[in-house]
């Protein structure tokens, strides 16, 4: 059996990176908006904000990285 012409691996990774970034950023952002940090106990609030901040930042990094990779793949 001859394998059909497959997808470009670089494009696959770029799309994955971009999608991961969008999911994490939107999920982190919406969770932060919907929750009520001032009502939380101080230690829980601190832990929650650090955790949600990390998710948003990771999402942002992956989203931008994925977008740049997608552009590079399209140009090539």
């Amino acid at each position: 059996m001859k394998e059909a012409k497959g997808a470009d691996p670089k494009r696959v990774v770029a799309v994955q990176m971009f999608s991961i970034g969008v999911i994490l950023f939107v999920l982190g952002g919406v969770t932060l908006l919907l929750s009520d940090p001032p009502a939380m106990a101080p230690f829980i609030r601190r832990a929650f904000l650090i955790s949600i901040g990390c998710i948003i930042l990771i999402g942002l990094a992956f989203g931008i990285g994925g977008l740049l990779r997608l552009r590079r793949v399209k140009r090539a």
Partner: protein, 547 residues
């Protein structure tokens, strides 16, 4: 509560949309079953760990066991798991990857012949279908208990979301979602351990209450307890579980291995597996240590827990504020969904590659098998859904899964070790060894009444190993095509040749320019052996503290 419901709904919706968005890139069987062989090492790291963590092996079941038995449950995270990942990454994955296979049974066929491939693949397909049904059941029960959602509609929504992205996007979509789930579990649910330690006054405060006030045995804080421990005697954990079951799981579990087969290079496949030992080690802080602390919190707050495996859900429900609870539920759902998607994808790969392509539709076009993969994925979801109502009520099915695992893992480890490390192991020996070991495992369980899983695995491994050696020595040597490039010895010879030619090139540089580019090596900080050594040293330190 509506906030948490919204967060969970948004999370499922985002995964659904991203899965459809990604699926537009999938065109061939290599794309569908091996993610276009594109995954870098960090994708593999996240995906392997997320595959390993599910409702069955993670927050609910392992957390429940930690609540009941203490820190011993961390031996999976601090000792066995990292050992299995590192050994598989260093010694086994390279052979699979180089053989250009889709499934582990395919490797066994290359080395030993068709019979062993069929038996091994068939056993794993049954185990996988039951596992998916059990994960759906636990997911439905979990959301029913915590968000008061109706059971069946919830199970259907979970099946629809995870089924859609796995069915359309194949391994690439599964790996992508597993990485998201890896981040949400690792970053989103990590705060709990700090919150709980803060509440009980740190580890010293916890020990003060449990050992001092409550008078609990110090073995509650031991990762490797003595041989009389009823749940996990230390020596048996090392022999049966670590050396056989966990290593067999890491090196022979199609879902775990398939992530590595989708890597963009042999280096990424190996390093991804070794690096997965880092999140595995940290996993103890997500669901083992919080559940060791949980009894104190429950006592402080007067919370009654009926069942150990419901303790994690009860803890977060009673402790966490709205919003944060939603994120935790998303994290727990991630564990189940990652497990389901990986097993689903692997089951369809094994059915198509090990049965459909060999026996039912030979020599068809690539597109034919690609579509067959999608149809099979749908079929597996349908069968698993039919099994959901009976999966935990009918003990027969769980018994079947446990028996098959005990039958498969010990014998598999025996023939796999010999396949790679002993050139003389042949078809007759491996088939006899596998069958004798499997029958011996069933006899131990059914006739001698041994129900400790890792004892069965260890003895069936020993019997398989001996039977394979004896029969191989009494029969003909394997043909060269069964061993060349598939054994450690041939690999060593090839590496020796590479080193010698590199030396001769260095000599040649002095004479004139080279035709081919010099060998590229990763920088020292990404050297697989350095990382493996550091991670294993961390395990030793953890065992010295908590052994």
């Amino acid at each position: 509560m509506p906030t948490d419901f919204l967060i969970v709904g948004l999370y499922l919706g985002l995964m659904f949309v991203a899965g459809i968005f990604f699926s537009r890139n999938i065109r061939s069987t290599a794309d569908y079953f091996l993610a276009a062989r594109s995954a870098p090492w960090f994708w593999i790291m996240g995906a392997v760990w997320a595959t390993n963590i599910g409702f069955l092996h993670g927050y609910l079941a392992h957390g429940g066991a930690a609540y009941e038995w203490g820190l011993i449950q961390a031996n999976f995270e601090w000792f066995q798991g990292p050992f299995g990942y590192i050994m598989s990454g260093l010694f086994f994955i390279a052979f699979y990857w180089r053989a250009g296979i889709y499934t582990v049974p395919q490797f066994l066929e290359r080395r030993y012949g068709t019979g062993i491939r069929t038996i091994y693949s068939f056993a794993w397909i049954i185990i996988f279908v039951v596992t998916i049904a059990a994960e759906f059941y636990l997911g439905g029960i979990f959301l029913k208990n915590i968000l008061r959602l109706p059971f069946w509609p919830t199970v259907f929504v979970l099946a629809f979301v995870v089924g859609t992205y796995t069915l359309l996007g194949g391994l690439g979509a599964a790996i992508m979602m597993e990485f998201v789930q890896f981040i949400i579990m690792m970053v989103g649910t990590m705060p709990l351990v700090f919150i709980l330690l803060n509440m009980v006054g740190g580890f010293a405060g916890l020990k003060g209450v449990l050992l001092g006030e409550w008078g609990i045995s110090p073995q509650y804080f031991s990762v490797l307890p003595d041989i009389h421990h009823p749940y996990g005697p230390g020596p048996w954990i090392i022999l049966g579980q670590c050396l056989v079951t966990t290593l067999g799981w890491c090196a022979g579990h199609q879902s775990m291995v398939q992530r590595n087969l989708g890597a963009r290079s042999i280096y990424d496949a190996k390093f991804g597996y070794v690096a997965a030992a880092i999140p595995k080690t940290l996993g103890a802080f997500l669901y083992v240590i919080p559940m060791v602390i949980a009894p104190v919190i429950f006592a402080q707050r007067g919370i009654f827990v009926e069942r150990a495996d419901a303790s994690y859900a009860k803890l977060i429900f009673n402790l966490l504020p709205s919003g944060m609870l939603g994120l935790f539920i998303a994290g727990l759902l991630s564990a189940g969904l990652s497990s389901i998607s990986s097993v689903l994808n692997s089951t369809s790969t094994m059915i198509v590659k090990d049965f459909y392509e060999r026996f039912l539709a030979r020599g068809k076009s690539d597109r034919h098998y690609f579509i067959a993969g999608r149809v099979t994925t749908f079929g597996v979801i349908a069968v698993s859904m039919l099994l959901v109502p009976v999966v935990l009520k009918a003990y027969l099915i769980m018994w079947l899964e446990q028996t098959l695992l005990a039958m498969v893992l010990g014998p598999f480890m025996g023939i796999l070790m010999l396949a790679i490390f002993w050139r003389r192991a042949n078809t007759a020996g491996s088939l006899t060894g596998f069958l004798v070991g499997g029958v011996f495992a069933v006899m131990l369980q059914q006739i001698f009444g041994i129900n400790i899983f890792f004892q069965i695995s260890w003895w069936s491994f020993v019997v398989t190993f001996l039977a394979t050696v004896v029969v191989s020595l009494l029969t003909q040597k394997p043909r060269p095509e069964r061993v060349d490039g598939l054994t450690w010895e041939s690999d060593f010879r090839a590496k020796l040749g590479e080193v010698l030619s590199e030396r001769s090139e260095k000599v040649a540089v002095k004479v004139g320019p080279l035709d081919r580019p010099p060998l590229r090596r990763p920088p020292w900080y990404l050297n697989i052996k350095y990382w493996a050594t550091v991670i294993l040293l961390v395990q030793v330190v953890l065992l010295l503290f908590f052994g």
